[in-house]
Structures are given as C-alpha cells and as structure tokens.
C-alpha cells in the first residue's frame, strides 16, 4: 500500500497519527465531555461531521484564494466556515434532540475552537492533498477522534468506580489515562513503515 493511496491516508489519520493521542489536537473536549459514553459518542460524531465539511470547504477556499492570490486570508476563511458549520450542527441538534443538546452544553459551540478541525484544514493544505485524499484524510481524522473520545469515556467510567487517591482525582487522572492510551497508540506507528 503506497503512502499516497486513499486507504493509507485514512488509516494514517485514524490510528497511526491519531489526532488526539499522537498530535494533541482537540484535547479540551476529550477532557471535558468524555465523562460518559452516552454523550461522548454523539460529541464525536458531531465533531467528525464538522471536520468533514470543514475539509471540503477548505479545499474550495484554497482554490478560490489561490486564484486571487490572497493566501494570507486562508486562516480567517477557514475559521469563518468552521464557525458557521458549527452553528448549523448546533441548530440541528437542538431541533432533533433537546436532551442531547442539554447534555453537551457549552461544549457544542466550543467545537468551533476545537483545534482538531482547524488542524484538518491546515494539515491537508500543507500535505498538498487532492480532493479525494482530503476527503479520506478528514474521514480518517473524524474516525480517529470518535475512537479516542469513546475509549477515554469507557476508561473514565471504569475509573469512577475505582478508589483513586484524592490528589489524583479529576484532571490529573484523565491525563494519565490519556497518556497510557497514547502509549498504546504508539504501537500503531509500525503500520506506517517508520
């Protein structure tokens, strides 16, 4: 499998260079929303959806800005598209599942400031992916994000039942869990051939 093939790009973004555990993008929602499996999974799906839209839009933005020679505006254009997509997702969730809307709370609008999404747009540009490769990359990144947030939520639900020393409760424990998960994901690095 060549490094340019769509399957490899997908796999690379999903597990080998997992956005959360290997590249540290989108840590805030991972620490904030991963308390329960029930909210972690929808959060992951919403983020993956925004990622996909942002990636397609970023591809279009690059063409338009490149045509006019306005590349220095790309950052502002990306973030504007992401912010409006998040608004759209927020309205959809509010309409179809008010209960979920309340559970996600402040973290839903905060998808805008999730570095993983802007990261997808920036990395696909710097890697020079074509359209199909960008789509594969964003889908892989989304799948990787869902994987990471669901794994974290599962672990944290177990830790809730355990007797943790009082100094380590909360954020420190979550970070240690993330560290161990990240160690596990380093095992996938061999898939990439170095």
């Amino acid at each position: 499998m060549g490094t340019d093939s769509l399957g490899f790009i997908f796999l690379d973004a999903a597990v080998i260079n997992n956005f959360v555990l290997a590249m540290f993008l989108g840590i805030c929602p991972i620490l904030g929303v991963s308390g329960q499996l029930g909210t972690a999974f929808p959060m992951g799906v919403a983020t993956a959806f925004v990622m996909f839209i942002a990636s397609v839009a970023a591809y279009g933005i690059n063409i338009v800005l490149g045509y006019f020679g306005l590349e220095f505006l790309s950052l502002i254009a990306y973030i504007a598209v992401i912010a409006s997509t998040v608004q759209l997702v927020e309205m959809a969730v509010k309409k179809y599942s008010p209960a979920l809307y309340r559970a996600l709370g402040i973290f839903l609008p905060l998808i805008t400031s999730n570095c993983a999404i802007l990261g997808v747009a920036l990395f696909q540009t710097s890697n020079g992916y074509d359209f199909l490769q960008s789509v594969a990359y964003s889908l892989g990144a989304g799948a990787g994000f869902i994987l990471a947030i669901v794994l974290m939520a599962g672990l944290r639900e177990q830790v809730d039942l355990a007797d943790v020393p009082s100094v380590a409760r909360g954020a420190a424990m979550s970070l240690m869990l993330a560290g161990i998960l990240s160690l596990a994901f380093m095992g996938f690095a061999g898939l990439g051939g170095g």
């Binding site: 540290f24 993008l25 805030c28 973030i79 400031s113 802007l118 161990i180």
Partner: protein
C-alpha cells in the same frame, strides 16, 4: 458584577500567573501545551507568540467592546484573533525558518486556543483598555511559565539537555518516551498531581491549626 469596577491592582496582574493560571488551574489551551513542549526553546517561543496574540487581540477587543454587537461577538473575536495570528505566523517565518518548522501548524492553531477566546469573553469584552492589558500580560506570562515548566522537564528527562546544552552528563540514559506524545500527558499529569498535593497539605495544615485553636478555648 462588582468585580468589574475594581481598580487595577497587583492582583489583576498576578491572578493570571498563579491563582487562575490558564494551564494548571483552568485547564485551557491544552493542545499547544502538550504538543510543542518537547524542548524548552519551542515552549518559550510558543509562549511568547501566544502572549503577543493575547495582548494585541485583547487590546483591540477591549477598545471595540461597545461597538461589537452581542449576537456576533464570538465571530468578531475570532476574526480579530485570526488577524493577529496571521501576523505572528508570517513574522516567525521571517525571523527563524527553523523555529517555524519546529512549531509547524501549531502557530496557526493559536487561533483556536480556547484560553484566548475565554479571556476575550470573560474579561476583555467587559473591561477598559488598561486593565485588560495588565490582566492579559499576567495570563500570557502564566501560560508561558506553564509551557516552560513542561518543556524543561521533558527536555531534561527526554534528552538530558536544557536549551540544547547537555546538563546531565554522558552516563544519563535519556527517557525517549518523554519527547514522544505520551510524555506530554504524563508530565502535565505530574505537575497537576504536585499542585494538588501542595494544596491538600496546605488545607490539612489550616484545618489542624483551626482545631488546635478550638481546643485551646
């Protein structure tokens, strides 16, 4: 809120460094904190870049705070922040290409640093210019200090060096894992544990002292 009319004091500045440290206390802006702290130099550059963006954008937001309509404030904040990040991005590219390659996309990702947006929402959009500047400087320094705390420990344990200078000698076997992603998580967890432990001990001591005075009566 009453706090809005408080005069500028040392506390406005110090609050961001210690009691409301963005990284260790508020747990905001974690992504760059973990990603670029594998060497002390990177950590310092990232901290200074973020501080610059924070200062400039907070100043502008504070000046424009009465002109920005409430409904579109988040979008306006983000556009202002993105403008300054673009400036920093091009500036670092011009100053040191080596540093630019080391930090990579994380300079542009300052835009989505929740710490900056959080400060804009909670402070700059409500406070006058001077006070905002003082507070932003404090928060920026707090952020830089936190990055240095992580960066120095990771570089020391991971490579036996500090700012590129070997300090631990030949015999030291570097812990490569500290430079890799898991190391970032573990070192940050370690610092949080340390602070939690200090706080717990202080609380404990205050409690025993109170009990002691109560017994004396």
């Amino acid at each position: 809120m009453a706090a809005e009319r408080e005069p500028i004091s040392m506390d406005t500045f110090l609050r961001g460094i210690w009691r409301e440290n963005p990284v260790f206390v508020m747990l905001l802006g974690m992504c760059p904190v973990l990603a670029v702290t594998n060497t002390t130099a990177n950590a310092l550059a990232m901290g200074l870049a973020t501080t610059f963006v924070l200062l400039c954008s907070m100043a502008l937001i504070s000046v424009l705070r009465d002109l920005i309509p409430k409904e579109v404030r988040i979008a306006s904040f983000i556009v202002i922040i993105a403008t300054f990040v673009t400036i920093v991005d091009y500036a670092i590219q011009a100053i040191s290409l080596e540093l630019y390659d080391a930090l990579g996309a994380f300079i542009q990702l300052i835009v989505v640093n929740c710490m900056i947006l959080g400060r804009a929402e909670a402070f700059a959009s409500r406070q006058p210019l001077l006070k905002t500047l003082v507070n932003s400087l404090g928060v920026g320094l707090g952020f830089t200090l936190a990055l240095l705390c992580l960066g120095s420990v990771r570089e020391l344990l991971g490579a036996g060096e500090l700012l590129g200078v070997p300090v631990l000698g030949e015999a030291f076997q570097p812990w490569v894992v500290m430079l890799l992603p898991p190391g970032g998580f573990f070192v940050l967890a370690g610092w949080l544990l340390l602070f939690a432990w200090i706080k717990e001990r202080r609380d404990h001591r205050a409690k025993t002292r109170k009990e002691a005075t109560a017994d004396g009566h």
